[in-house]
């Protein structure tokens, strides 16, 4: 009961937090130097989306490993819910990135190494969900998709670290404008960090709701059978 009240309160905190982040992203921070117009503001939404797309993938992989060790159906639910959310956030990260690319580089898409890696992440999510759809037996579906999630996770470091290192990229470094004035930098970092925390909170919330819905659905299916 007490836990319920805490989580209820946390939802309101999250609402206020995200509202403040959005307002701050547009009014508190000045546009970064070296970027056309107001385009740098998109970073407060683009970076958290990309972060969560990767975080969701990490969660999916960890729960997959846990499933293979403990064989608890709940771990499989966790992995699939996190993959579904990851797909959503990866789409959002790609879209916000493309909008930024249109303004800065005059093209929505140019197969920059960063764009390539997010595309492959999208493909991995889609393939994972396609595999889940193609297997009827729940236990087999759980273990095979867990194996695929782990295999896919192994290739991600190559995409994120090796490909952009070897080949040239237009993508700004993870923290842009490191030489700007101190005041600007601190405001910039404050909002970005707050945004990261806020969207991670949103992810956790969506994730717990998703897990609960999915376990209710499975219980119903078992009752019907």
């Amino acid at each position: 009961m007490k836990l319920m009240r805490v989580s209820e309160a946390l939802k309101w905190v999250l609402l206020v937090w995200l509202a403040v982040v959005i307002v701050a992203a547009f009014f508190y921070v000045r546009p970064a130097e070296g970027f056309i117009g107001e385009s740098s503001r998109i970073v407060f939404f683009h970076v958290p989306m990309a972060w969560i797309a990767v975080l969701a993938f990490l969660v999916s992989c960890i729960t997959s490993v846990m499933y293979l060790r403990r064989r608890d159906p709940k771990d499989d639910i966790r992995a699939s819910v996190s993959a579904g959310l990851g797909l959503l956030f990866a789409v959002l990260a790609t879209t916000t990135g493309a909008v930024f690319a249109r303004i800065m580089w005059n093209a929505y898409w140019n197969w920059d190494p960063r764009q390539t890696s997010i595309t492959i992440l999208l493909l991995i999510y889609a393939a994972y969900l396609a595999l889940r759809g193609a297997i009827d037996d729940p236990e087999r579906r759980a273990s095979l998709s867990a194996v695929y999630a782990i295999l896919a996770f192994v290739t991600v470091p190559f995409l994120v670290f090796v490909v952009p290192r070897i080949y040239w990229s237009l993508h700004p470094d993870t923290i842009i404008n490191t030489r700007g004035s101190n005041e600007f930098d601190s405001r910039y970092t404050q909002v970005l960090m707050a945004s990261l925390v806020g969207f991670t909170g949103l992810y956790v919330w969506l994730y717990t709701i998703g897990c609960r819905i999915e376990s209710v659905r499975q219980r119903r299916r078992q009752e019907v059978l």
Partner: protein, 226 residues
């Protein structure tokens, strides 16, 4: 250890024997590659691409032909077992690791056979001159190995699913794309003679093949026995 190797060799030999009876995978791989090669060489030919673009663009075409030919035939090794209902017997007869090693060996033979025929033919038909022959051969050998490792474990996964044909490329491509990028850059480097690109590529491809080997060896028993 020697028993494991003997079992693996037996699995690979059995696969080769049944393959030469029906030639399903060989036909799929070889004919696909030859058809695409004919189409590419007819439409692009040796002189359509300007000299500056040749090393890179011809590397792209070469690896696209190899990868898609591999995707057309390398799933047979496991799908065949499920379709002819021989998988349960194989599960009884050999340990999972031996089965995996045997199937990997079979896929390796297929892919190297494909490369041995396709690559010289491609170089002749497209007029593709390679400056660093040794580096190019190493790229082919290690690239073929990494390709075989990844497709073997994916084939094992999709053999247990319902819609096999389409799933194989859908599941393989995201895992193969980084490899494809490395191999194309490395081959372009071998063609125009930059040693640094070739060594960087070999390092990346080797590490990827090695990691994939370890992970699939660990995960294959789950796929095979569940």
């Amino acid at each position: 250890m020697s028993r494991l190797l003997a079992e693996a060799l037996a699995v690979a030999a059995k696969d080769l024997r049944t393959e030469f009876r029906t030639r399903v995978a060989l036909n799929a791989l070889g004919l696909f590659a030859l058809t695409v090669l004919a189409a590419v060489s007819y439409t692009v030919g040796p002189y359509r691409i300007s000299a500056g673009d040749r090393p890179f663009l011809l590397a792209v075409l070469l690896w696209i032909v190899v990868f898609f030919a591999a995707l057309a035939g390398l799933d047979r090794s496991f799908v065949k077992e499920e379709e002819s209902h021989t998988a349960p017997l194989l599960r009884l007869a050999a340990s999972p690791t031996a089965v995996w090693l045997g199937k990997l060996g079979f896929n390796l033979i297929l892919i190297y056979l494909l490369m041995a025929i396709l690559v010289p033919l491609y170089c002749i038909l497209m007029g593709y001159t390679i400056q660093l022959i040794g580096g190019f051969v190493l790229i082919l050998v290690f690239g073929g190995y990494a390709l075989a490792v990844i497709t073997t474990i994916i084939a094992a996964i999709i053999a247990r699913a319902l819609t096999r044909g389409a799933l194989f490329s859908v599941l393989s491509l995201p895992l193969l794309l980084p490899l494809l990028i490395f191999l194309i850059q490395g081959t372009a480097g071998a063609a125009d003679g930059t040693v640094e690109t070739v060594t960087n590529t070999l390092r990346a491809v080797l590490s990827m093949g090695g990691i994939m080997t370890i992970v699939s060896a660990m995960l294959f028993p789950v796929v095979w026995t569940d």
